[in-house]
C-alpha cells in the first residue's frame, strides 16, 4: 500500500512538472490532481422545496457501499433545505444550502461538519447558490446579487462583491471569475449578463451581454467559457453563449432546444449539456462544433437529467435523474463512449455530483 502511494506521488510530481512546463500560462480549470485516486462520488440532493430534506449521498468506489445521507449519518443533523452546490477544495467540501441560507464546510473525506456560515443580510437570507475557488478563496454566489468571498483558511467571509441579478453558477477561467447573472426571480424580465470579476482586486470589471437568463456556466482548456441560458419562456429562446476568456468577447450565441434543467460540464475536448428532449448533447471544444446529439449509445433513457459531471481522470460521465422531482433519483455512470457502467439510487432532486479523492 505504502509502495503504491509513493509511486503515485512520484508520477504525480513528474506529471505536474511536465504539465507546468508545457502550458505556462494555461490555467487548468479543475483542481483535480491528474493521478489522484478516487475514493468515491458525492451526490448532493436538493430535496423538495421547503421540505428541509436535502441530503448528501455518498457512493464508495472501494466498498461499493452507498450511504443515503452521509451528512446526517456523520453529523446527526439534517443538511437543510435545497442543497444546491457542493464542491471540494483542498481537504474540505463546501456545501451551499440555498433556502437554509448557509454554507456548510465539511471534511471532504468524512463529511464531518467543520463550520457552518450563515449568509444573512439584516435578517434576510441572501440565498446562496453556487461556489468556486481561486487561490485560497471560496466564491459564493447568492440570489441577492452578490458573490461572497470566503477565506478557506479562516472560513470567514471577508467581502461581498456586487454582481448582476440572481447570480447562479460561476467559473474560474484565465485568472478571472465569470458569474452567470440569471435575474430568474424577475420572471418576465431576466438578467442577460455574465459578470467578470478580477481575482486580484476582487472587483467586478465588466458585464458581458449573453442570452437572457444565464444559469449554468463552465470553461474548457481552450480558452472558452460556455454559458447556458433559459431565455424568458416566452419570446427569448434558450441557448448557449460562448465567451473568449482572453478578450471577454462573445464568440458565438446559439439558440438551442433546452428544457428547464440545463446542467453543463466540460472535460478535455468535450462539453456535455442536456437538451429539451432529455438527451445529453456533446459539443467539441477543440473544433468548436456540435459533436453528438445523444452521448448515451446503449439506449439508456433518463427521465429528467438533472446534473452532469465528468470525471477528468477516468473520462466517465455521470448523469443524475430527478425523475418526477418528488421521488428518489438515480445516478448513472457512463464510460467515455456513452455506455452505462452502473447506476445508484440518490435522494430527491440530485442536483450536484462531486468526486472525492482518497
Amino acid at each position: 500500500m505504502k509502495q503504491i502511494r509513493l509511486n503515485s506521488l512520484f508520477i504525480a510530481l513528474a506529471l505536474v512538472t511536465i504539465l507546468a512546463s508545457c502550458h505556462k500560462d494555461k490555467v487548468i480549470p479543475k483542481q483535480d490532481t491528474p493521478i489522484a485516486t478516487r475514493a468515491g462520488v458525492y451526490v448532493l440532493n436538493q430535496g423538495g422545496f421547503n421540505s428541509n430534506n436535502s441530503t448528501l449521498t455518498y457512493y464508495d468506489y472501494t466498498t461499493k457501499s452507498l450511504t443515503a445521507d452521509l451528512y446526517k449519518t456523520i453529523n446527526g443533523t439534517d443538511l437543510g433545505d435545497t442543497g444546491n452546490d457542493a464542491e471540494i477544495y483542498g481537504s474540505k467540501m463546501y456545501i451551499v444550502v440555498n433556502v437554509s441560507n448557509v454554507v456548510d464546510v465539511v471534511n471532504a473525506k468524512t463529511g464531518k461538519l467543520i463550520k457552518q456560515d450563515s449568509l444573512v443580510n439584516n435578517g434576510v437570507g441572501r440565498q446562496p447558490r453556487s461556489v468556486a475557488f481561486y487561490k485560497g478563496n471560496a466564491f459564493i454566489t447568492s440570489y441577492d446579487g452578490t458573490v461572497a468571498v470566503m477565506d478557506t483558511a479562516s472560513l470567514a467571509i471577508t467581502k461581498y462583491i456586487t454582481v448582476g441579478r440572481n447570480p447562479e453558477q460561476l467559473v474560474v477561467s484565465n485568472d478571472k471569475l465569470y458569474v452567470a447573472n440569471s435575474g430568474g426571480l424577475s420572471f418576465g424580465n431576466p438578467d442577460n449578463t455574465v459578470s467578470v470579476i478580477d481575482l486580484n482586486t476582487l472587483a467586478e470589471t465588466k458585464k458581458i451581454p449573453v442570452i437572457a437568463n444565464p444559469v449554468t456556466i463552465t470553461a474548457d482548456s481552450y480558452g472558452h467559457v460556455y454559458v447556458l441560458s433559459l431565455g424568458d419562456f416566452a419570446n427569448i429562446l434558450p441557448g448557449m453563449t460562448i465567451i473568449d476568456n482572453t478578450t471577454d468577447a462573445v464568440k458565438s450565441q446559439t439558440n438551442l432546444s433546452l428544457g428547464y434543467n440545463i446542467p453543463i460540464a466540460a472535460s478535455g475536448d468535450f462539453v456535455y449539456y442536456v437538451t429539451a428532449d432529455n438527451k445529453i448533447a456533446v459539443y467539441n471544444a477543440k473544433t468548436q462544433a456540435a459533436a453528438q446529439t445523444n452521448f448515451i449509445i446503449d439506449g439508456t433513457t433518463i427521465t429528467t437529467p438533472y446534473a452532469i459531471s465528468v470525471d477528468a481522470l477516468s473520462g466517465e460521465v455521470f448523469v443524475s435523474d430527478a425523475k418526477d422531482y418528488s421521488s428518489n433519483g438515480t445516478l448513472y455512470a457512463f464510460d467515455k463512449t456513452g455506455k452505462l457502467e452502473y447506476s445508484i439510487t440518490t435522494g430527491i432532486n440530485p442536483g450536484r455530483i462531486t468526486f472525492v479523492n482518497k
Binding site: F49, A68, D78, D81, R165, F187
Partner: protein
C-alpha cells in the same frame, strides 16, 4: 313489489322522528343510500370546534390538510382524493373557487351554522342543483334559519371567544321575525389573533422550543339572510355574505435560516345568492338558485429577490351562476329529476412585476345537465344519475384549454335484507370528472393548456345498523363502508424552487379504504347521559402509474393508513364534559416511502367543559376548551409545525 308499504312506513317514521321534539337526542341518521356524516350546532363545543375544518376532522375518511395555527390554511381531503374533489355547499349553493378549486375551511366560523353534512358520492335528495352531482364528495353547510313565533319576534345570540393565539372573537347572531311570511337573520363576527404559538424545532440538533410568528389574522364576516315562506312548500331566501381578512402566511419553517418575513394574504369575498323552492301536491318539486360572487385575493411577499424587491399579486375572480332543478314524483316509489346549472367564471390578475407571459385572463362557461331518478322496489332503493359537463373556455391572450363534453354516471343502491329495518346494505358507483382549475392551466411560469382533466371512479360497499333502545343505551348506530377510488390523470403540482414549478398529470392512483363509524348514547345515571362516537379509517392509497418505477405501489403523500377519532362525553343537561382524541399513523410527504420521507404519526387529545345556566332569566353558555392537552409537537404538512397546548374560553348569551 312485495313489501312497498313496509318500506314507506319506515321512511315516514324516520321523518317523524326528526320532527318530533323529544328530550333524548334523535338517533343519528346513518341509514342513507350512500354514506353521510353529520354534525349539528349543539355538538361543536363537544368537538372543540372553532371553524368548519375543526368540526369535520373527526369524520371517517376525512383528512384535514392543516398548515398550522389559527390563520393557517385548512383544506379537506376525503377518502384519499385531493381537496378539489370535495365541493362545499353553503345553503345548497356551491362556494366555488375557479382559481384553485379548493376552499379554505378555516374561513368559516360556526356561529351561524346549524349543521354540517359530508356526503360521499352525492346527497340522496335528487331535487338539487346539478353541481351537487358533480363531485366525489359534498360538504354541505346549512346556516341557522329563524324559527320564531309571534310571541317573541326576535332572538339575539351574542358571544365572545378568546384564548391562546391572542384570540379575540366577538360575534352576534340576530334572528328577526318581520311578519307571518318574512324573517331575517344577520350574523357577524370579528376575529383577531396574533397567531403566535410554540413549536419544537427538529432536525438541526437543537430540539429547541420556538415561537411561530407571522400567522396573525384579522377577519370580519357578515352574513345577512332574508327569508320568505308562504308555507313549508313555497319559500324563498336571499343571502348576502361578505368576508374580509388580512392574514400573515408565515411560510415553511426552514432549518438554520432566520424566520422568513411573513407573506400576507388579503381576502375580500362577496356573494349574493337567492333560492326559491316550491313543492306542489301534484308531485312537482322546483328549486331555483342564483348566485353572483366576486372573490378578491391579494398576496404579498414583502421580501423577494426580484427587481421590485417583493412579489405583489392581485387576483379577482367572478362568478355568475344560475341553477334550476325540477323533480317529479311519478308514482309513490318513483321520482325523476332534471337539473341544469350554468355558470360563467373569469379570473383577472394584476402583478407588480412583468410575468414571463402575460396572464391569459380566462373565462369559462360551464353547463351542467343532470338527469336523476330515485326508485324503490320492495326493500331495494335505487338512485341513478347521469351528468353531462360541457365547458367552453376562452382567453384574452394565448391559447385556451379545449372545450370539454363529458358524461358522468352514478348508480346507488341500498337494500334491507331482513324483516327488521335496523340493518341495511348499500353500495354505489360514481364517475367524476374533475375539471382543471385556472391555476392548473394558466399560472406562471409554465402555462400548460394541454393538461388533461382528472377522472375518478368511486366504488363503495357498506352496511349500516341503527337501533333505538330503551334500556341503559338510548341507541346504537354502526356503519362499515369499504371503498375503492381509481384516479387517472392525477394532477400534481410540483414546486421545484421559488420560481420553478410545474403542474403535471402524474398518472394513476388506486385508493382502497375502510370507514367504520360507531355512535351510541347511554343513560349513565338518572341525570347523566354519556355519548360516544368512534370513527376509524383505513386508507391504502397507492401510486400505480408506472410498474417500472421505484414508486410503484407506494403510498401517496400525506395519506395516513390508519386514523382514529374518538369523542366521548357526559352530559347533565346544564353541564357537559367532553373528550376528543384524534390519532393518525405515520405518513409520507413524498413518493419514496422511506425513512427520509417519514412524517411521524400523532395522537392529539382535546377536552372541553360546557356549562349552561340562567342569570336574570337570560340563558348563558360558558365553555372552556383545551386543545392538545398533552402538548404534543407534530406536523400535518412537512415544515409546517402545529401548535402545542392551547386554550379557549367562550361566553354566550341569548336574549
Amino acid at each position: 313489489m312485495i313489501f312497498p308499504s313496509v318500506s314507506f312506513a319506515q321512511t315516514d317514521t324516520a321523518k317523524k322522528l326528526k320532527e318530533v321534539k323529544i328530550n333524548t337526542a334523535p338517533i343519528p341518521e346513518v341509514q342513507s343510500i350512500a354514506p353521510l356524516q353529520k354534525i349539528s350546532a349543539n355538538a361543536f363545543e363537544q368537538y372543540n370546534a372553532f371553524n368548519v375544518a375543526d368540526a369535520v376532522r373527526n369524520f371517517s375518511g376525512v383528512n384535514i390538510k392543516d398548515y398550522g395555527g389559527i390563520g393557517g390554511l385548512k383544506t379537506i381531503s376525503v377518502r384519499g382524493l385531493s381537496a378539489n374533489h370535495t365541493i362545499v355547499l353553503y345553503d345548497g349553493v356551491q362556494l366555488n373557487d375557479a382559481e384553485n378549486g379548493q376552499v379554505d375551511l378555516s374561513k368559516f366560523n360556526l356561529q351561524n351554522v346549524q349543521e354540517i353534512t359530508l356526503y360521499n358520492g352525492q346527497p340522496p335528495n335528487i331535487c338539487q342543483p346539478a353541481r351537487s352531482f358533480s363531485a366525489a364528495s359534498v360538504l354541505s353547510i346549512k346556516t341557522i334559519k329563524p324559527a320564531l313565533s309571534s310571541n317573541k319576534s326576535y332572538l339575539i345570540t351574542a358571544g365572545i371567544k378568546g384564548g391562546s393565539f391572542g384570540l379575540f372573537n366577538p360575534y352576534l347572531l340576530w334572528q328577526q321575525r318581520i311578519s307571518n311570511n318574512w324573517s331575517f337573520v344577520v350574523n357577524s363576527y370579528l376575529e383577531n389573533a396574533n397567531g403566535r404559538y410554540k413549536y419544537k424545532n427538529q432536525g438541526d440538533g437543537s430540539d429547541s422550543v420556538r415561537t411561530r410568528t407571522g400567522s396573525d389574522i384579522s377577519a370580519q364576516q357578515i352574513d345577512g339572510a332574508l327569508y320568505w315562506a308562504k308555507n313549508d312548500s313555497n319559500k324563498f331566501n336571499l343571502h348576502i355574505n361578505y368576508y374580509n381578512s388580512d392574514r400573515g402566511l408565515p411560510g415553511a419553517v426552514i432549518l438554520y435560516a432566520p424566520p422568513t418575513v411573513a407573506s400576507r394574504l388579503w381576502n375580500q369575498d362577496f356573494f349574493v345568492q337567492a333560492g326559491y323552492e316550491h313543492t306542489w301536491n301534484n308531485g312537482f318539486h322546483l328549486l331555483i338558485n342564483t348566485k353572483l360572487s366576486k372573490n378578491y385575493l391579494h398576496y404579498l411577499n414583502p421580501v423577494f429577490l426580484n427587481i421590485e424587491g417583493r412579489l405583489d399579486q392581485h387576483f379577482t375572480q367572478r362568478e355568475f351562476y344560475q341553477s334550476a332543478a325540477l323533480a317529479y314524483r311519478i308514482t309513490n316509489n318513483w321520482e325523476v329529476s332534471y337539473a341544469i346549472d350554468a355558470s360563467l367564471n373569469d379570473l383577472n390578475t394584476q402583478y407588480n412585476f412583468t410575468p414571463a407571459t402575460p396572464f391569459p385572463i380566462p373565462t369559462r362557461f360551464t353547463l351542467l345537465n343532470v338527469l336523476a331518478s330515485n326508485y324503490t322496489i320492495g326493500k331495494l332503493h335505487l338512485q341513478g344519475s347521469l351528468l353531462n359537463t360541457n365547458t367552453v373556455e376562452s382567453v384574452k391572450i394565448g391559447k385556451a384549454a379545449p372545450s370539454r363534453n363529458i358524461y358522468s354516471p352514478t348508480l346507488m343502491a341500498s337494500i334491507q335484507p331482513f324483516e327488521a329495518p335496523n340493518f341495511r346494505l348499500r353500495g354505489f358507483y360514481k364517475s367524476i370528472f374533475r375539471n382543471l382549475t385556472f391555476n392548473d392551466l394558466y399560472y406562471e411560469p409554465v402555462i400548460n393548456p394541454n393538461l388533461k382533466p382528472e377522472f375518478t371512479k368511486e366504488f363503495d360497499l357498506g352496511a349500516t345498523y341503527s337501533k333505538g333502545l330503551n334500556g341503559f343505551f338510548n341507541y346504537i348506530t354502526l356503519t362499515v363502508d369499504a371503498y375503492y377510488n381509481n384516479v387517472t390523470n392525477k394532477i400534481v403540482f410540483i414546486p421545484h424552487d421559488p420560481f420553478n414549478s410545474s403542474v403535471t398529470n402524474a398518472g394513476k392512483a388506486d385508493i382502497k379504504g375502510l370507514d367504520v363509524g360507531l355512535k351510541t348514547q347511554a343513560n349513565l345515571t338518572q341525570e347523566w347521559k354519556g355519548t360516544l362516537s368512534v370513527n376509524y379509517s383505513y386508507e391504502q392509497a397507492i401510486n400505480v402509474t408506472d410498474p417500472a418505477s421505484s414508486n410503484y405501489l407506494n403510498q401517496l403523500p400525506y395519506i395516513p393508513k390508519n386514523t382514529l377519532a374518538l369523542n366521548a362525553g357526559i352530559d347533565h343537561g346544564h353541564l357537559g364534559v367532553y373528550y376528543n382524541q384524534v390519532l393518525s399513523s405515520q405518513r409520507y410527504y413524498n413518493n419514496n416511502n422511506d425513512s427520509g420521507d417519514n412524517l411521524p404519526g400523532y395522537s392529539i387529545s382535546d377536552a372541553s367543559i360546557v356549562y349552561r345556566f340562567l342569570t336574570k332569566r337570560i340563558p348563558v353558555m360558558a365553555s372552556f376548551e383545551v386543545n392538545n392537552i398533552f402538548n404534543k409537537y407534530y406536523s400535518v404538512i412537512q415544515s409546517y409545525p402545529m401548535p402545542g397546548r392551547s386554550y379557549r374560553i367562550s361566553l354566550q348569551i341569548t336574549i
